[in-house]
Symmetry: C3
Subunit: 345 residues, 3 copies
Amino acid sequence: MNYPLDKLAKVLNGQLNDKGKNPEISGIAPLLEAKPGEISFFSDGVGKQKHLEELKQTKASALIASEKAVDLPLPTICFKNAYVGLARALELFRPEYRPKPGIHPTAFVDESAEVHPTAIIGAHAVVEAGSIISEEARIDSGAVVERGASVGKRSRLCSNVTLRFGCTIGEDSIIHSGTVIGSDGFGFTPTSEGHLKIPQTGNVEIGNKVEIGANVTIDRATMGKTIVNDGTKVDNLVHLAHNVSIGKNCLIIAQVGISGSTTIEDNVTLAGQAGTVGHITIGKDSIVAARGVATEDLPPGSIVSGFPCKPHSEEKKIMIALRRLPELIKKVRELENKIDQKVEK
Amino acid sequence: MNYPLDKLAKVLNGQLNDKGKNPEISGIAPLLEAKPGEISFFSDGVGKQKHLEELKQTKASALIASEKAVDLPLPTICFKNAYVGLARALELFRPEYRPKPGIHPTAFVDESAEVHPTAIIGAHAVVEAGSIISEEARIDSGAVVERGASVGKRSRLCSNVTLRFGCTIGEDSIIHSGTVIGSDGFGFTPTSEGHLKIPQTGNVEIGNKVEIGANVTIDRATMGKTIVNDGTKVDNLVHLAHNVSIGKNCLIIAQVGISGSTTIEDNVTLAGQAGTVGHITIGKDSIVAARGVATEDLPPGSIVSGFPCKPHSEEKKIMIALRRLPELIKKVRELENKIDQKVEK
Amino acid sequence: MNYPLDKLAKVLNGQLNDKGKNPEISGIAPLLEAKPGEISFFSDGVGKQKHLEELKQTKASALIASEKAVDLPLPTICFKNAYVGLARALELFRPEYRPKPGIHPTAFVDESAEVHPTAIIGAHAVVEAGSIISEEARIDSGAVVERGASVGKRSRLCSNVTLRFGCTIGEDSIIHSGTVIGSDGFGFTPTSEGHLKIPQTGNVEIGNKVEIGANVTIDRATMGKTIVNDGTKVDNLVHLAHNVSIGKNCLIIAQVGISGSTTIEDNVTLAGQAGTVGHITIGKDSIVAARGVATEDLPPGSIVSGFPCKPHSEEKKIMIALRRLPELIKKVRELENKIDQKVEK
């Protein structure tokens, strides 16, 4: 479906700066791939320099951009946050494919499971005894929902996800492929006959509007629950240990590891490859920078980096100072010599 | 099933401190979730402060605790190691569900595979040609046992595990969901036509009473074997490269990576996100702290941290000294000035 | 099949140093496992010390080695690069098993998918609508090829791989078990109602002769493509974010994470557990050492390590200097005292 630019601006709820033109827009594509008649996206933030270069070569007929971006050479639909405009345009022009509701003939659904008639169960998916698949939920090919687990309305388990027994997914959540929810926590205690396994008998509860990346692992609690609260987004290959509690609207970037019984409060960001020890609390609105390791409780609003993590401003000073360390050692040796000479005189 | 506390103490083989009461115990739950009639767990070690707070609010009727914990406000079953008591109580009150033996009608078992009648093969599981599934072993939904692989007595592959061709699992071991055992080692050699693949033709052998976490990867040997010995426990998202050999009763915590042909001797602990280079030996009873990277052979009993790893006590001193580095640079500059002034005089 | 050593040298295209013998060779095995009549491998590089020890005990009848290795006690087939000889011998003596072409009766192949008659589709594999499986390609047990995806000639998806919709694999490539290609990129933007998902509507394109390890995650682009070019080899548990572009013949070692929109040019090596921030370019022929983190563009031929990464030679000096830091702090304090005393005089 095509949209004249002025109509598109209204549909996307953006501000039109039409530069006297009103091209017909048929799709959206990156700057270097866009054809005439397509709209593209200009980032005013990260990647701006690259986008400025690409603008010179683009064949796009219009742009989506921040209202702060000036001097753009094409008609532009402006947004306070350009990414909101991008999200709306992608939904409009590239809507997600959705199979028809129903259970694929090769899927296995136990007769004691409840699958809503509007749900979609893919090829070779497994829905074990007593589990619940709600309205418009989607279990893709090869995914396994073990006994007594449940998936809320409109939530999706992508292909080859494993949702283990008794774990629950809220509404409007997405779990990406290969992810395991409800594996046993790493609980052992030393005995004279070796490491004794402490049975892991709790579960995992994922809230609403949560997104969990691919090949993530979230362990079930020893007793009680491991929790990921509403609105939190978790990237690929993250490890959440048993009895961890993640607050609302957190961002947990790829390859982060969170040790057992640690609490992450609301709106916390843990950047890539960061980590925490167990049994601590990261206060709300905190940021742990990439590779940072939280080794003790952090008050709300902390911005930390390094291992063990420190206030980010301090860590930056240390990082800069480090590069001068070899020279400093020399300098101190010279000072010693000077002083010794003076002393000798 | 309910137990009067005095009987429960006997069943669990603990020491009763009944404070003059003998409540009927119907289950076990964490301190804040326990209802009257339930027993709970008090940790004297990590998390003690939190547990002391929770004790004030608990509705539990009794506790499991260390014999060192004193002044507890409730009747207590005491253990030298409280976690042993916890493990026993969880096994008693929350026994693991076990499906009936047999092959699920949707599973595929090759006619040349041997599946013991007491084994359990789940929905859509695959057991390829020539593989062996022993007494009471369990292959859960969607798991794949490739040709010529074997799973020992009472061992379990959880849902969506991949056990690749020719690899073997001993007895009483658990492999958690999403884990891949027997992927090709990363073996390439540079040639004028690019990286030439060195065929990876060995296998992986997992011992008895081993537990491997979720989404772990263990590569097969180029020739010979990659080995994980009896009693070792491996956490989630760990990478063991080709020809690695892990000793008995090791603990390999989440997101550790061990490079090719490295030997880890018995009773070694590698804490979270640690790593090793290839072709080295970590002596028995050693500990590599979280994020530590072993870059050369370590003698038995080493306790190391940092990258490259050093004796932990040294690394700690460096970590403390680092925070004083920016100030040190200033101080040396001041000293220089002082000296130069003196020299000029 | 057996080969007299002189014939084997010709078949493998190596240089024979027969020490006056011509044993019949029936197989290949590691030094300590080889039986009389088998050939083994001697590494002149990493692991040489261990191999020299093992040579004393080996029962092998001949060796494959570098032409630089001298004084070996057995007849030897020599190669400029011994690993090339090893690769050829392993292919000869331990050829890969290959099932007969065809679709396993338990596989699900959508009627609109194109599967070449020479392709192999394993048990419980899924090939969704509109996807293409080319000549001699192989989709192993439990692997899922979502709608509109394609797998080129002779390429292989190992058991339980997930190839998501619209993604493409070139020719002669191998994707190891548990890997997810085409999961959504981590794209969200903050709004007053929480993190808004930016639809991820691009795809992933994997080139020819690429190998991707186990439990890797490669996210689809927001728009456009995430790319892994010809000849690149990726190890286990690696994360490639959306819109990443990896050049030709790169080596990406285990547990590396590459952030969104970053470009890795040709022939780059990223060693174990390394990382990059997003939106940067790593110039061709660069090496990022283990654990290194690239935080800005790197010119071609860079050799860097550390976080943030620096020229490797500089980082090494810093690492050495660090061990002297605690002592340096003491020394500066002593100097201060000396100077103060002199000043007082």
